[in-house]
């Protein structure tokens, strides 16, 4: 490999590294915002799970997160994006695909939904990027129970 090719290769590696770091940092930022949305609910007795989910989606794209919920608990799911002008939604469906939200709100880059399961079983949190000024929008989702 000659010197110019070697430099080009190094440059490409640096760019790739920077991209990977940026993607991770953005999901981490989205996660911080999701925790920010959850924070006020801790005072209401909700225990926020340590496990979290995130990634990036295009506008109108959706991601399903499968969760086991228990009748007798109340749950809140909090979603957020690192992109200020993005709008995302979080909705919960049961194993037959029926929406089961008891309550929900959307505020800027944040969205949240409350569920009071009628039965224990498998449920699906569906995250949708409703609007965004960027091609790929980073998102994160956390949930809490009480």
């Amino acid at each position: 490999m000659n010197s110019s090719k070697r430099n080009l290769f190094k440059f490409a590696l640096i760019c790739l590294g920077a991209l990977a770091f940026n993607a991770q940092a953005s999901v981490d930022d989205a996660l911080s915002f999701a925790h920010e949305a959850a924070h006020p609910y801790v005072k209401q007795g909700y225990v926020v799970r340590e496990d979290a989910w995130g990634g990036d989606l295009g506008v109108k794209d959706q991601q399903a997160v499968s969760v086991q919920l228990f009748k007798g608990n109340e749950y809140w799911f909090w979603g957020a994006s690192d992109t200020k002008a993005a709008v995302l939604s979080v909705r919960i469906y049961d194993s037959t695909g029926k929406m089961v939200d008891a309550d929900s709100w959307q505020k800027g880059r944040f969205a949240a939904t409350r569920v009071v399961p009628k039965h224990s079983g498998n449920y699906f949190a569906i995250v949708t990027i409703v609007k965004s000024p960027v091609e790929r929008t980073h998102w994160a989702l956390v949930y809490g129970y009480r």
Binding site: G45, V47, V48, R49, E50, D51, W53, Q62, Q63, A64, V65, S66, V67, Q68, F70, K71, G72, N73, S89, R91, Y93, D94, S95, T96, G97, K98, M99, S104, W105, Q106, K107, G108, A111, K118, H119, S120, G121, N122, F124, I126, T128, V130, Y145, R146
Partner: protein, 267 residues
């Protein structure tokens, strides 16, 4: 002043908007989502179930605590499973509000984590478990046990030991199921038994074992857990809301208790 209130109310409408029904359909076709995301179920922590049991009655949590000592073991799969059961014990001790037991379990978590090279990941958590238990901040202790489970799994995944991380979750689930069924069979109710309806989770664990490396898949404890999952599946019903009988609860308890013992003894 009135104008400001009206503007404020309008801004409120703009910035805090309940989602419109037309934005999200009332019914969706789950088969249109990639199987990987639909099948990969988030594993609940035992605390999520125990909180419901508390609401259903007043379980005698001290009766559910394990008193026998855990012997040192060398098989990594067994250690990972044991670690999961011990963290689940932590949630039981929190429900029992037993400060000394919580602190001892914190030490046990640290010892087992050391045996599989992930001690560093839980040192801070374990210290916090002790501190919060001393302060009797049970909700915070519950959060720390969840955190310990999460951190141990994350550390294992960083070491490319994702399969072992799954065994920690499995161990926690088996011990959680033993405790759940023990409480429910002592005071049976349909709502209590409904907590066992976890078909997605059972399928997830089953498939996850199938994709483990052969050495782990052929581990006698892992094989036994997979057989147990197959036996539990028909007892919990496919349909949401189906009644799980007292007899089914008893059978699941027997299987999970034997499994927890096998994990401890390594046979």
């Amino acid at each position: 002043m009135e104008k400001i209130k009206i503007i404020g109310a309008l801004l409120g409408l703009i910035f805090v908007t309940p989602l419109c029904a037309e934005e999200s359909p009332q019914q969706i076709d789950l088969s249109k989502f990639p199987a990987a995301s639909v099948d990969n179920v988030v594993v609940p922590v035992p605390g999520e179930i125990f909180v419901v049991l508390d609401k259903l009655g007043a379980p005698k949590w001290r009766d559910e605590m394990r008193t026998e000592e855990i012997k040192p073991v060398s098989d990594r799969a067994q250690i990972a499973l044991l670690l999961g059961t011990v963290i689940a014990d932590g949630f039981v001790a929190v429900e029992a509000e037993d400060k000394e037991a919580v602190k001892n379990i914190g030490k046990e978590v640290l010892r087992l984590a050391e045996a599989i090279n992930v001690r560093k990941s839980v040192i801070t958590r374990c210290k916090s478990i002790t501190d919060q238990a001393d302060a009797r901040k049970w909700s915070a202790v519950r959060q720390e046990f969840d955190g310990a489970l999460h951190d141990v799994r994350a550390a294992m995944q960083e070491l490319n030991d994702d399969d072992l991380a799954q065994l920690v979750s499995l161990g926690g689930w088996v011990r959680g199921t033993e405790v759940l069924t023990s409480v429910v069979q002592k005071n049976y109710s349909v709502d209590g038994a409904d907590l066992l309806h976890q078909p997605g989770l059972i399928n997830y664990f089953d498939k996850r074992i199938d994709t483990m490396n052969q050495r782990l898949r052929k581990n006698s404890l892992v094989e036994r857990i997979q057989r147990m999952l197959g036996k539990i599946r028909p007892l919990i019903g496919d349909r949401d809301g189906a009644t799980i009988s007292q007899e089914s609860v008893k059978r699941i308890h027997r299987m999970s208790a034997e499994m927890v013992n096998a994990i401890k003894e390594g046979n």
